[in-house]
Structure formats: C-alpha cells, structure tokens
C-alpha cells in the first residue's frame, strides 16, 4: 500500500514537472553560413527577437517557445539532412529555408511530415508545387515583378533593359518572370548576363552590360553579389539607372556597397525604412538587440513567429499542426489582431502572401520610400 502510494506520488510529480516545463518546439532550418548567410542570419535574428518577446510574456498558450537552429550552409544536400534532423525533433512549426533551392529540395519532406513551414524563398514556383503546409513570408516573384515592370515602363520610361542575374532558383525564377512582364509591356531585353552564386569578380559581366547600352540596368542577385556588382559597375563607369527588387535595395547591400548603392531604385516588399510606426519600432528593438539594422529578412522571420502565435492562440486555442495549416489558407491578420504582424497580411489558398509594398530609392546610404503600393487583393 505504502509502495503504491509512493509510485502514485512519484508519477504525479513527474507529470506536474513535465507540464510546468512544457515547451513548444520551433525549428529554424536556414542559411546560417554559405553564400546567403547574410539573408539567413537576418531571418534567424528576426525569429530570435520574436521568440524572446513572446517568451517574456509567457509564451504561446502558456508554453515557452524552444527554438532550435539548423544550418543548411546554403547547400541543398545539407539542407535535406538538416531538415530531416529538424523533423525528427517533432517541432510545431518550421521556419525557413530562405534559399529557394533549399526550399524546393525540402518541401516534400515537410509536407509528408505535415508540419507548417514559413519559408523565406521568393522563387515564383514554390507556391505552385502543391504543398498545403508551405507559407511565404514575402512576395513571390509573380507578385513583385509586375510591380517593378510597371515602374520601369511608367516612371523610368525605359525601352531597353540590360539584366544581370544570379544563376540559382531565385535568380532564374526572377529572370523568367521579369522577361515575361517586360515583353508584355514592349520593353526589350538587350543583355541577359547570368552570374554564379558566391561570385566575387564581376569585371567581365559589367563590360557586357556596358556594351549593351541599355536605358536601364536590372540587377537581380543576392545581397553580397548585388553589392559587388554595384561596386564594379561604379568602378567601370556603367551608367544607370540601376533597378532591382528588394535585394538590390536591402540594408545589407547598402552597407556593403557603400556609396556605390546611391541612386539605385526599385521595388521592396518589406523594409525597415517603411513609413509605418510598428516597423520603425521593430527596427529599433532589432538594432538594440543585435547591433545592426535589419533588412527585409529580419522582418520576415519576426512576423512569421507572430503569425504562428496569433493563429495558435486566437484561432485554434491549441497546438494542432493540421488545423494550423487549414486556418492559414485565406487568413488575414491585421496589426489590431496581432501587433507583431506589423502590417496587414493575407495568405491565399496556395500559401502566397499579399501586403502593401513600396517603391524606394537609395539616397546617401539610406533607403527612401517614394511610394506605397496597395495590396493586390484591394
């Protein structure tokens, strides 16, 4: 009798201690090193900031978030093995990858595991591959490129474009989409220069762009490569205007390119310089925490965590991965619903995202917003 009472007391104690210490697991599978470590690091730090804020207020449904980081090294082979490790840890949600190539090779694994995945990849085809568990944190190229093509036609009034792009899933997807949009607007592509991810020497590529003598130069690459291209372009006296989408005008590109980034124009989906008080305050908290200004990837990671919090607490009331994915489709979250979302955001049935976006120019090392573009759904 005494023995059975002891066993019962012990079991109760173990259950209680387990309940009191229960954590909800989040996994970040991202590019912490490799050629796009800049983007992956920003995304990670946005997640960390959100997790720290949420845990300081008690977590999600009284459970603290336990975040585990997995480094894909910007390598698809490594991404698969890291994603499997993450899945084996049974997380509630997965955040990342950011590199579109890594998203492509891991999305079926995540789909089979039925775990919601907030990705940073922007390649157009990602949301066309039929995964009900995949959700974007920024526009796909099929949303951004029409906006920038309109800008080229209406504001720059350019008839010819010289394009330089990075030869990976992100760059190829953007190039293909841009060409389609330019063709529809009778804008001719007079140079089509592909470059490699991680490339450092762009002298020969810039010579080709110069020879094309286009009305404008479109630069579509990752942040570091954009910075190197701009430095080389200024070195060789390549005349602009230089146009891009998000990465060309990102904070990291501006920092790395220094004066070479001044005068660059383009479309940005997310920016810490947006004229929105919630975004400005986020950027200040991020700067204080990490000692550098966030780029759009930091905002992506941050808002993804708060989207999870909102859906889990306010819509589901429980941790239910399948229910989460179902609820996300067609959902709109406003800053009134969840301040951490920063801007009104809508996800459609394919996981594609819709929000306001911006036209910007880099002036004296800072991104200046010249126009706010409405959501496509409005």
């Amino acid at each position: 009798m005494r023995r059975s009472k002891f066993v019962l007391a012990f079991a109760t104690l173990m259950l209680l201690s387990g309940a009191a210490g229960a954590d909800v697991k989040f996994a970040y599978v991202g590019e912490i090193s490799g050629s796009i470590a800049v983007s992956g690091g920003n995304f990670r730090d946005g997640i960390i900031l959100a997790v720290e804020e949420i845990n300081a207020k008690g977590g999600i449904l009284k459970e603290k978030i336990a975040l585990t980081l997995y480094d894909t090294q910007t390598n698809p082979g490594v991404a698969r093995s890291q994603m499997q490790k993450a899945i084996d840890g049974d997380p509630y949600v997965i955040l990342g990858p950011i590199f579109s190539g890594n998203v492509k090779v891991t999305m079926q694994m995540v789909r089979q595991a039925e775990i919601p995945d907030f990705i940073g990849g922007e390649a157009a085809e990602l949301t066309t591959l039929g995964s009900p568990y995949l959700f974007r944190t920024s526009f796909g190229q099929q949303i951004g490129m029409p906006k920038i093509a309109n800008y080229i036609r209406d504001e720059l009034k350019a008839k010819t474009i010289a394009l330089i792009w990075v030869n990976n899933d992100f760059g190829k997807g953007g190039r293909d989409r841009l060409i389609k949009e330019l063709t529809a607007r009778n804008i001719k592509l007079v140079a089509d220069v592909s470059t490699e991810s991680g490339q450092v020497d762009f002298a020969a590529d810039v010579v080709k762009l110069k020879a094309a003598n286009a009305d404008a130069v479109f630069v579509y690459s990752n942040e570091e490569e954009c910075a190197r291209i701009m430095r080389e372009a200024r070195k060789q006296g390549l005349k602009g205007p230089f146009v891009g989408d998000t990465t060309l005008l990102s904070q990291k590109t501006i920092e790395l390119a220094a004066d070479a980034a001044n005068g660059v124009v383009g479309h940005v989906g997310l920016t810490a310089d947006a004229p929105i008080p919630a975004v400005t305050q986020f950027a200040q908290r991020f700067q204080k925490r990490f000692n550098y200004k966030p780029d759009h990837n930091g905002i992506k990671g941050y808002t993804a965590v708060y989207a999870v919090k909102y859906v889990t607490e306010k819509k589901l009331g429980k941790f239910d991965r399948k229910g989460f994915a179902k609820t996300m489709h067609g959902l709109t979250i406003t800053p009134q619903d969840e301040p951490g979302i920063l801007m009104e955001t809508t996800w459609d049935g394919t996981g594609e995202i819709d929000r306001i976006s911006f036209l910007a120019e880099v002036i004296n090392g800072k991104q200046n917003i010249s126009k706010v573009l409405p959501k496509l759904g409005k």
Partner: protein
C-alpha cells in the same frame, strides 16, 4: 577596343594579386619543400586582423593595418613555421600538405565562428574614382592594385638578387647542404622566407578585400587560383608564378566576357590540364630530377 583595354587592366589587376599569392607558394616550396594549401586562408585572415584593430581596439585604418600586418607576419610566418612546418616536415611532404589542408579548414571555421558568416565592407587603399585613358574608363583602384603588385614583385626580386641576405636565401633554395657548408644560416633563411610570405599575403589581402569584401570563404577560390597560377608558371620559379598569375587573371576575364561567364572557372582548369600534360614543369619552371 575600350572594352578590351578595360578587361585587360582589370585582368592584370586581379592577376597581380594571384601573382603575389603564387610567389608565396613558390618561395615556400623552393626553400623548405612546403606546399601550403592554406595559402588562400592566409590571404583571407589579415583583413580580419585589420577589422579587429578597427572594431575592437578602436584604431584608425592605417594604425590597424600596421597592427594587422605585424600580427599576420607573426602568426602566418613565424608561428606557422615553428608550430606546424618544423614538427611536420620531418615526416615528409605529404603529412605537411595534409596538415595545411586541415589548417585551412580551421582558419576558415574559426573566422566564421568568432567573427561571423556575413561579408564585411573593408576600406579601400586609394580613391574610389575613375580615370579615362583612350576613351576607356579605368578605376583608380585597379591601377593602384596593379602598381602595388608590380612594386612589391620588383622589390622582392631586387631583395633576392641584390642583397646578401637575398642571395643567401636563393642559395638555400638551390642547395641547402652546400649553403650550410658555405656558412649560411640555413634555418634563418628559411624563417625569412616564411616571414616574407606572411608579408606578401598581407599585401594581397589589403588589395583584394576592398573589392571582394571581407568574408570567411574568400580563401577558397583565391588559394585555388593562386595554386593554379604557380603550377602554370612554374612551381620552382618566382618569375613563373608572376607570369602565371597575370596570365590567369587576364584569361579569366576575357573568357568570362567573350566565351561564357558560366564556364569561366573551367578555362583556368583546362589551361592547367594542358600545362601538366605537355609542360609539367610550367612555362618558366625547371625540370627537377631526383636520384632514386
């Protein structure tokens, strides 16, 4: 024509950096039979010493360069020789080669771990303006890089050929046994070679990092290109390393512009294969024979 001129100058500037690094390869091989597969990381590291000087010690750029240069010569020259080469060379060339491969990985991952995986801007040595010559626009930086590389190589050649110490170093490289018999302090000459290599990679780092940014992965491709340049030019001739570096820089640029930018990295490798097949001693190298 202006495009060709621009490509030529840009290629020579890049090739000059390859030449500096390749000369270090050949000097180490000639004097101490050391093949240093961490040479690319040796070029990556001095830039981070300078950034540490500026970031953590709050120094202005040039004092940080002095500090970084001194640290590089001590760590990459003296410490490398005493802690790695001397203990390993007793066991033959191959164990030392493998050890330097391990050292390259250690250096790269240490920078990633303690500094970060991001790229960092690095101040340029000179003006970031352009000059126009015969209608072609040249960056002052490219011309500066070329001028500095030429000056360093000429200074090195004058030192090796025109000073007593330099001639002793050459004697050591040619035949250490006879050099010892002639009263040359062979061990000291070998040490000087390592210190010179430390200085050469520091110069290369200061020239290349403003353009390519400071990043832990910079050594990978640079070490490979410099090694190819040394092989193409002749691994046992400093002149060969210089010629190989300049040729590689120019060929790489022209190949990217006029053949294919996607296959630009294949062209130097093709040249390497051709040289190994038909002239394995390199363009300017000597055939070495060994008694079996």
């Amino acid at each position: 024509m202006t495009d060709i001129l621009q490509l030529l100058v840009a290629g020579l500037a890049t090739g000059g950096i390859y030449a500096l690094v390749a000369v270090g390869f050949t000097l180490l091989w000639q004097t101490s039979q050391t093949i240093n597969f961490a040479q690319g990381e040796f070029v990556m590291l001095p830039a981070f010493f300078v950034l540490i000087g500026m970031g953590y010690f709050g120094l202005a750029f040039w004092p940080a360069v002095a500090l970084g240069g001194a640290a590089s010569v001590v760590v990459l020259g003296l410490a490398f020789k005493k802690l790695m080469v001397d203990p390993m060379i007793r066991h033959g060339v191959l164990p030392l080669v493998i050890a330097t491969i391990g050292l390259a990985i250690l250096m790269k991952e240490a920078v990633r771990e303690f500094w970060g995986a991001d790229a960092w801007p690095f101040p340029a040595l000179g003006a970031t303006t352009d000059v126009t010559v015969f209608g072609a626009v040249f960056a002052v930086q490219s011309l500066l890089i070329l001028a500095i590389c030429i000056a360093v190589v000429v200074a090195l050649q004058l030192f090796l050929g025109g000073t007593l110490t330099g001639r002793c170093m050459q004697a050591t490289a040619q035949n250490p046994t006879v050099a010892r018999l002639l009263g040359i302090r062979v061990e000291r000459m070998i040490l000087y070679t390592f210190l010179i290599n430390g200085a050469l990679v520091t110069v290369a780092s200061l020239l290349i990092t403003p353009i390519y940014l400071a990043k832990f992965t910079n050594g990978e491709w640079l070490g490979l290109y410099a090694f190819i340049a040394a092989i193409i030019g002749g691994f046992n001739q400093a002149r060969g390393a210089i010629a190989g570096g300049l040729l590689l820089g120019v060929v790489d640029n022209f190949a990217a512009a006029y053949i294919s930018s996607q296959y630009r990295t294949a062209i130097p490798l093709l040249i390497l294969i051709v040289v190994i097949l038909f002239r394995p001693q390199g363009m300017f190298g000597r055939i070495e024979e060994r008694t079996v």
